[in-house]
Symmetry: C2
Subunit: 233 residues, 2 copies
């Protein structure tokens, strides 16, 4: 049976081996959730970039530019990091260049992996099916918040591991902890997350409705995956 491991923060990455594995990048609030919404709204591909200037340069080539730092959309960008940005704008057949505080960085940090996909509660079942079918060793890679542990990404790792627990070997303490936290929180994910520090910060930013949206389970049945420099479905 393949194995399932969880990296609780990018700072823990050096302790893990990504080669040959399927890495699920997780940034629930909000990059990986919003990317899923974007594909649902007709985006053809996302190009994750490191710097806002790169996104603006790609805007000159016909991309839509998206940039978030510290939880807020940067001035001069059409899109930020809120799922509603990707629901309420017409994105049919668009390419989006995106940079965020945590999530896009993790896509780049995973370059050694055999395959990189995007996970969120919005496409949980599809991600679980994808992992089952591939039969590669899986790493759930939590983006965290500026290299710190966060609850919402850990809960998703726990949800995914719970879906896969019959067909994967789970011996890693991080995954066992994530599963137990998910088990405790699953009946009301939104309320559970609102007690997290990250969410408290979001409350100050007035984006509680983003949390409620991002905690919905399995609305979408596709799995964004990296092909070359781009995310496609």
């Amino acid at each position: 049976m393949p194995s399932f491991e969880t990296i609780l923060s990018p700072a823990l990455l050096p302790q893990y081996e990504m080669q040959g594995k399927l890495v699920v990048v997780i940034d629930i609030l909000r990059a990986t959730s919003s990317i899923c919404v974007g594909f649902h709204s007709g985006v053809l591909m996302f190009r994750p970039v490191s710097h806002p200037e790169q996104a603006l340069a790609l805007e000159q080539k016909g991309f839509v530019a998206a940039a978030e730092r510290n939880g807020q959309k940067l001035d001069g960008f059409k899109l930020g990091n809120s799922p509603f940005d990707y629901l309420e704008n017409d994105l049919q057949n668009k390419n989006v260049a995106i940079t965020t505080t945590n999530g896009t960085r993790c896509l780049h940090l995973s370059y050694e992996a055999e395959e990189i996909i995007i996970g969120s509660f919005l496409n949980l079942k599809a991600v679980a099916n994808y992992c089952s079918n591939k039969q590669l060793n899986v790493i759930a890679f939590c983006a965290g918040w500026k290299d710190k542990f966060n609850l919402e990404d850990t809960l998703f790792a726990g949800a995914l591991a719970t879906e896969l627990s019959e067909s994967f070997i789970i011996e890693c303490d991080s995954t066992l902890a994530a599963m137990d936290l998910y088990n405790q929180a699953q009946n009301n994910l939104s309320d559970y997350i609102k007690k997290a520090s990250h969410a408290q910060r979001f409350e100050r930013l007035g984006i509680e409705k983003d949390i409620d949206f991002c905690m919905q389970s399995s609305l979408y049945n596709f799995v964004p995956r990296m092909v070359g420099d781009d995310l496609v479905i």
Copy 2:
């Protein structure tokens, strides 16, 4: 009110500020538990050192030398890392030079802290009282296993935070997760820990009884603290 934060692994240390804070170093299986046992058995002071050679050099000066790597006592040393080493040897009025895989390293990594103390389930209540009386901001610093997250150290952080939750501000996701895990595990800590990867490895080493011993709560009413290069009570 002072704050309470948890560092889930030494790899996450760069994201935290230790200056001015009271750091509780936690290596439940087994360094910080065994150090507590040592003081109970009459040890005068422990000197944590980085390398086995340093412990042997101190043996020439009258110290008892203790060294553990990868869960096992090193050849040529009187003491390893098992609590029973510290119960069954006559350590009355002895000084012990000790090096372990994870725990002693964390004592050294905490050098910027205002104060450094040792926490284990064996002295949980005493540590909680000490923190309450000091009224400094507290960091629970989990040694983990070779820079990875582990369950037993996290559970202790959760237990300590639960004791202090009325009188400390707890906004850090790591602490919230630790408290929820402790809440789930507290009625049978030993069984809970035995499912952890670290404990499974210990089972292979035949030291399950160490786990049962280390999970006992508040047997001792003292708090080992760093004074200069040494741990004393």
